[in-house]
């Protein structure tokens, strides 16, 4: 089977063609870097995305602080992760890089603060 993809690994957005069957990826073409190859293979088997959102802050300068996953999480778990993130809050002061939720829903990714507050 052939699938045409636009790589989202970086803003270049290379047009990638993947040939695959039920058991394996046969070839990846059109990518201009290693990350593109990796992206295409994951996209066929188990698509993942970085997740960026905010978390409530108690007693901070702002009502919320931005957070992100420190590695991509399975695309199909995006909304479940959002639910978990929206159910917690963090006390000020918040440090950049501070782990807010460890190993969110067993994905292996931590949710970390992306700014101070």
């Amino acid at each position: 089977m052939i699938r045409e993809l636009t790589c989202v690994a970086c803003p270049l957005g290379c047009a990638i063609t993947v040939d695959y069957n039920d058991t394996e990826v046969l070839s990846v073409t059109g990518n201009t870097c290693k990350r593109g190859d990796a992206y295409a293979r994951t996209e066929i088997v188990n698509p993942t995305r970085s997740l960026a959102t905010t978390v409530k802050v108690n007693g901070g300068v702002h009502p919320v602080v931005p957070v992100r996953s420190n590695k991509p999480i399975p695309k199909k778990m995006m909304f479940e992760c959002m639910k978990t993130i929206n159910s917690v809050s963090v006390d000020a002061p918040v440090e950049i890089g501070q782990v807010i939720i460890q190993d969110i829903l067993g994905t292996g990714a931590d949710i970390i603060a992306a700014n101070y507050d």
Binding site: C10, P11, S50, P63, P66
Partner: protein
Amino acid sequence: MINYDLVVIGGGPAGMAAALKAKECGVGSILILERAETLGGILEQCIHTGFGLHYFGEELSGPEYAERFIKELKTTDIQVKCDTMALDISENNVVTAVNKTDGLLKIQAKAVILAMGCRERPRGALEMAGTRASGIMTAGTAQKYVNIDGYMPGKEVVILGSGDIGLIMARRMTLEGAKVKVVCEIMPYSGGLTRNIVQCLDDFDIPLRLSTTVIETHGKDRLEGVTIAKVDEKLQPIKGTEEYIPCDTLMLSVGLIPENELTKNVGIEMDRVTNGAVVDEMRQTDHKGIFACGNVLHVHDLVDYVTLESQLAGQGAAEYILNKQPKETVYVSTTTGTGVRYLVPQRVNIKNPNDVKLYFRVGRIFKNAKVVLECDGKVISSKKKVKLAPGEMENVIIPADVLASMNESGVICVRVEE
């Protein structure tokens, strides 16, 4: 009157990178003036990731990208005044600014770097019938509401314009539980990065309707819906294609305008296409000692490129202040050939001893085309491109040896060949 070697107007990614580079190049006293309460500019509300892939080789959020520079600034003696509004720049580089603690400030600078960024085109700039119901806002305003102020501006959203901020907000609103019904784009192509269409719209099955616009808004106090319609080649609505879509929020992502009020007041020559100043390869304007970089010069897609360009401006300002500019200046204009909408810089000093990178945008989508660079009528390079789109800034390099061999009355031209 206070004296500084260099005054940088704007403390976003452009201003910070320019100031740091100027410091590295040996400039003595540097002052950054920032209108907001903190440094970082618009990056502070751009919480999505994808920043820094080129420059740092990692994927950061906007605030994290800004933080790298804020941290570095703290290790220098560069002065920063936040909450400070620059009002005017005089003929002889006196910057007038105002804030709550100092009152009115007059700052004599040897050089000035303009790094004021851009703002969003508002509703008033569009021909759209309807009332002034609440719920109509630019995508960037909505981004601030959600990401900084922490509340949702609506539940059912229509987005007009497929610029990157609109696409990013389509995903953001969806993640927070809103229903984004459609993104309408008046042009036959999207103005955003392809990767954003994939990961912000396709991932969430949000439809993108090309050659479609909003012709009317409905609702008295709160927006109740919009009428959308297809447009013809002249971008005029086609009768009979109208469709009513109920929604409580309309977000506009219909273009960015460089904030050049200060620039124009000095009388600096402007480029009608970029809406920014006309500059040379070190980003110096036609007013000696005034430089411009980042989105105030031309709107960029990627902050990484803003950083690189601003470092050039910082270096240029340092060379000006320290009297290290090339001894001779012979400007050759860069001209846009077929398919190229604009070029920055607009002129190049052929006595500059380094390679010069020209940034440009194409006027429409090209597939399997070539980007051709011509100097004095000779083809210098011809680079194959699978795809060229107006939403994605491209660049081409003039090698130093080519520049050195150029005619004083020569021409540099970039064009697209199909």
